[in-house]
């Protein structure tokens, strides 16, 4: 691209790229493609796009998840979407799976034994299920006897829970607060 284009034109290109993508379009990838745009200019354009789509108040909006932009439906429309499209298998996770996912998200990379110790129960079945659902993945082995697998959460995990990065999870400080509250609650 040689001529400097107007912001409006960039917006059209960018939103079309996002529209046809089946995965969030990474900010880094956009930076790499629109070389004539300063990162700050690109950010401004993206921010405006998000706001403009949101202002339209239509059924879907532009959202930043897992380091990229994607069009996603508004959460209050799910009943009709599922009702209309009967083949959709609604996403479901058991309590156990959610627990293992929570532990993995905060303690990664970690081994099965680490998970078992926190939950006090064997979690290998649940870990396999989460691997199948691509919410976690194996990332090497721990350098201890037995060389157990290390598990981490995936980009799909961030996409599934609508997080931009792991930093969007409640911070460890907030977690400590939770711990304190637990003492009072119980």
């Amino acid at each position: 691209m040689k001529i400097k284009l107007s912001n409006e034109y960039y917006k059209k290109i960018i939103e079309s790229i996002i529209f046809v993508s089946d995965k969030p379009v990474k900010v880094e990838a956009l930076k790499g493609y629109f070389k004539d745009l300063q990162p700050s200019e690109l950010k401004e354009i993206l921010d405006e796009l998000v706001q403009e789509w949101d202002k339209l108040n239509r059924g879907f909006k532009l959202e930043l998840v897992s380091g990229g932009y994607h069009f996603r439906t508004r959460s209050d429309l799910s009943t009709e979407i599922i009702e209309y499209n009967k083949e959709i298998k609604k996403f479901r996770l058991s309590r156990a799976a959610l627990e293992v996912l929570a532990i993995t998200a905060y303690k990664q990379p970690l081994t099965r034994i680490d998970v078992d110790q926190i939950r006090g129960v064997d979690s290998s079945g649940v870990l396999n299920l989460l691997l199948d659902k691509r919410l976690i993945e194996i990332k090497g082995r721990k350098d201890v006897p037995g060389r157990p697998f290390l598990y981490i959460t995936t980009e799909e995990f961030l996409e599934t829970f609508g997080l931009n990065s792991l930093k969007d999870l409640p911070s460890l400080k907030e977690l400590e607060e939770i711990s304190k509250d637990i003492g009072e609650l119980l």
């Binding site: 089946d22 994607h70 799910s78 996403f91 998200a105 129960v121 691997l131 609508g162 119980l186």
Partner: protein, 250 residues
């Protein structure tokens, strides 16, 4: 047609494990987690254990070990504390358990928080996502990138899942039909001929468990020896094995 009446089934609270059960008991009894009345809680815990024994034999082991721990704490609580000397740092026998309970409760809370979020495929939807096929489409062609052993291991898991291999019928003792080295030679033979082959194709149609294991190890050996490379077009995509050469062998 008239339905036969099902036998009366008592549905129990399903606990996620011994710690989960213990936390529920503490909540139910409205006791202070830092001052758990061990005797009372242990008795109730053991009562539940009896029910779990009847309904869920598989998980009973996990519950038993905590029961033993509770018994141990209970016995230590009964022992008189040593005279209060300079050494005042004698820890409450319950302290370690309380720490574990609080740690676990923390993650139970986060699990709840995760569950309350707007989840893709439940509250939120997007175009292009396959909500129907659990394992996605492996035959999508995209740009090649280098892959690592972990992808191979994941692909191996996928392969077993996909074929829904039932290993239970393989519980027979047989002489090993061939060695890893032989299998390796076989794979190399195919590779030399075809140049490259898909990961899923090297296992054949109805492999036995031992064949799968030997083939997989043989493949790892070949890659380790630098005789073949592996490449994958993207995460969770099909893995290709590409012939490099075997000067060393010939």
């Amino acid at each position: 047609m008239e339905q036969l009446e099902l036998p009366y089934v008592v549905k129990l609270n399903i606990y996620q494990g011994p710690l989960d059960l213990l936390l529920e008991l503490i909540k139910k009894n409205k006791v202070d987690i830092y001052d758990i009345p061990i005797a009372v809680i242990t008795d109730q815990y053991l009562e539940y254990l009896e029910i779990i024994k009847l309904t869920n034999m598989e998980t009973v082991g996990d519950y038993l070990s905590l029961a033993a721990e509770l018994g141990y704490i209970k016995s230590r609580m009964l022992l008189p504390l040593p005279q209060e000397d300079e050494d005042e740092n004698i820890e409450d026998p319950r302290a370690e358990l309380v720490r574990r309970l609080i740690e676990y409760e923390k993650y139970r809370k986060i699990a709840d928080e995760l569950n309350e979020m707007d989840v893709l495929g439940r509250e939120i939807f997007q175009a292009g996502t396959d909500y129907y096929d659990e394992f996605g489409d492996p035959d999508v062609e995209t740009e090649m990138m280098k892959t690592d052993m972990w992808s191979l291991i994941e692909a191996f898991r996928d392969f077993c899942k996909r074929r829904q291999l039932d290993f239970s019928e393989d519980l027979r003792f047989e002489l090993e039909s061939y060695s890893i080295r032989e299998r390796g030679q076989e794979i190399l033979y195919i590779l030399r001929d075809k140049g490259q082959i898909l990961f899923y194709d090297i296992f054949g149609d109805k492999p036995k468990k031992i064949d799968l294991v030997i083939t997989f190890i043989a493949l790892l050996e070949i890659v380790k020896d630098g005789l073949a490379g592996i490449s994958q077009s993207g995460k969770h995509e099909n893995i290709e094995i590409i012939f490099i050469g075997e000067d060393k062998i010939e």
